[in-house]
Subunit: 460 residues, 2 copies
Amino acid sequence: MPPLGLLHMRAWASLFSRLLRPPGVVCIREVHFHSQVSEAVLTSQLKPQHEKSNFIIKTPKGTRDLSPQQMVVREKILDMVIGCFKRHGAKRLDTPAFELKEMLTEKYGEDSGLIYDLKDQGGELLSLRYDLTVPFARYLAMNKVKKMKRYHVGKVWRRESPTIVQGRYREFCQCDFDIAGQFDPMIPDAECLKIMCEILSGLQLGDFLIKVNDRRILDGMLAVCGVPESKFHAICSSIDKLDKISWNDVRHEMVAKKGLAPEVADRIGDYIQCHGGVSLVEEMFQDSRLSQNKQAIEGLGDLKLLFEYLTLFGIAEKISFDLSLARGLDYYTGVIYEAVLLQTPAQAEESLNTSGQKIRTTETQVFVATPQKNFLHERLKLISELWDAGIKAELLYKNNPKLLTQLHYCEHTGIPLAVIIGEQELKEGVIKLRSVASREEVAIKRENLVAEIQKRLSES
Amino acid sequence: MPPLGLLHMRAWASLFSRLLRPPGVVCIREVHFHSQVSEAVLTSQLKPQHEKSNFIIKTPKGTRDLSPQQMVVREKILDMVIGCFKRHGAKRLDTPAFELKEMLTEKYGEDSGLIYDLKDQGGELLSLRYDLTVPFARYLAMNKVKKMKRYHVGKVWRRESPTIVQGRYREFCQCDFDIAGQFDPMIPDAECLKIMCEILSGLQLGDFLIKVNDRRILDGMLAVCGVPESKFHAICSSIDKLDKISWNDVRHEMVAKKGLAPEVADRIGDYIQCHGGVSLVEEMFQDSRLSQNKQAIEGLGDLKLLFEYLTLFGIAEKISFDLSLARGLDYYTGVIYEAVLLQTPAQAEESLNTSGQKIRTTETQVFVATPQKNFLHERLKLISELWDAGIKAELLYKNNPKLLTQLHYCEHTGIPLAVIIGEQELKEGVIKLRSVASREEVAIKRENLVAEIQKRLSES
């Protein structure tokens, strides 16, 4: 059961890092470039290569480019996610990539060491944002906004060690959906869980489960097990590792490294191996130790209400109350949740890849071709008409390309239609319209061409 | 005539900074927050405030948040721009926000001091990207790609001094469209200019002009005017300022600061005050001095061909051959271009603001309301049905909101439809569907509600 690191709606950020290849390192010894800009840029790049022969052209450690194929997948995912956020009435926000350094200080506990700082080049001290939550809180404070349902899609940066934390990138994209404000309890939380279900279903990654817990239940549990309050934080971060390492290893960390009595660790172990539906909530209400703790009772009360709403939304069976769910960051105080896929990422990845046809990286609808020499002017006039009619069109940037090369380009890139203009067509005032797949051609009057293309495109 | 700093398709980056407000500084003394996350985040933020009373919550100098209203404008613009890029068959690419520091070294001439470096926290030395061009060149080199038509939309960072360079932000978004590869001359360049025209027309910012020149003409002109080759670079950067300061000031800089003989400066002045259409190209071919320079003749030949293609695209009258156009960056070697608006930015901004109605920041189509107490469960069931049918819907997160509050929310946020459920409706198996604008209400059978809503939405 592969865990998906989720912070509100961030399931897909983790999905991405699985869908996409690890950072590549390619050593270039000789490069031929022809575009004006690339040539000039690389000339200066290649100069030092003669001196240092091991010069490497690569992306920074832990980062990657997204190729056109990967961008098609990403945009499909983002369209789906953003569509869902809009369906739930959220507004979109954007904030700068960096914040004042002091704005990020003391927000992330143990993880603060993973923040990228900018060099002091005079002026303010800055850091790259670590998540989209702190910038949102800063926006609310700065503009004195007390109530807001917003979504934010953007990159964040964390100096993780990719060799240690498998598959994590140092730059990745987060999709946050937050409802800030004071409301009657659990209604917004239930909507957030509904959104998670809609998105995870929409992504068609197979079966999933959303674990929920409450920080008050967690704290109450630690208290009744006999953990001193000064150690809550450290013990939570051990519990949080349970999806990565075994209970034995977590227990060892608690006892050997964090100084917990073995019997206290064992009591914790009994609780955090419990998970279930609303019936487990009821059971915990009856638990002899937990029912003595005011905080825990409050948390359990809210979870009971939450399950009531989840049932009305028809998603209760997707949700699992899980006492091991801790979530590392300091800023959680109430309900917390996290999604897990019930199949391996490899299977999920496969289903995403095989569900469609070969991925097209452009949306070009029509290719403008000619079988004859010296027809560039006619091709340019024709393609301009198509562009002006809003039709996505391409041609080869050659004065005299071969017809076969042009048709091959259409087949290779998946362009469905080709229009062909030659001496004969020009004389007769027609254009040949060719279906690339079937290779059928019909002659169409020039003045009817755009309408005919639009008709064909709307039918397909 | 306000200049738009353009690098290929970057007109809109500059447009943005005009459309949007300057960076805000708000000093918060007291903040009340209610969402779990915001509260926790701000608690730690507010702690030091008691000690340092001048603590300020703000975005870093030269950066800004984009509010929901601004995001609606930005997304409209981006949709238009990206739609155009797709119409021309471009693939989308993404690269990391930072690059190896040495990758950016020696690429930007005088502007290199504006690059943001990351702090050395161990490992590679990194810098935030300064544009999207160098990352594209790095991508091509790294993947040994020789031919690619790609677009890239993303933020770039420059340590400009906003007080000196009016209206420029330190973080802004660029939209790049590039055609890399070796092709027959001027066909891709003509398409780039066509794209600029389509985008600037599409943005409806009023009349515009695109200045074109060629680095070879520029260099040839400097040579025949008597500028020593060692000073080409410095003189180009002076010429580049002609859209910001007067010719007299530029001339003064050339003579006093850059050591040019006054008569050489005057000869340059004669040329760089020339601008016109293809007839000016012809005229320069006949120019007694310029026609002696091989480089200039090559550039003029290409411009002539370019104008031929621009005429076929129907955009020749939008293009002005302008010998003062220099473009600062080192990596240009051939044709260069830049767009200018022919009205003031204030007018352009106005036309964008008044063209539409009041800007809605959400797309919510239906609001779920009740006139009665204790109807939360029914509202939740109903809204869940709407969401599952793909309808954008909202409700208030309150157990017992007042009907007036609910209807007011619809009017305030521009939601066109409200569905109302109460005791009576529940008994009769109907829902009231209300048009928020006309306040007309009809009762509709519960089972027909989704279909009726979809019908109404498709009609509006």
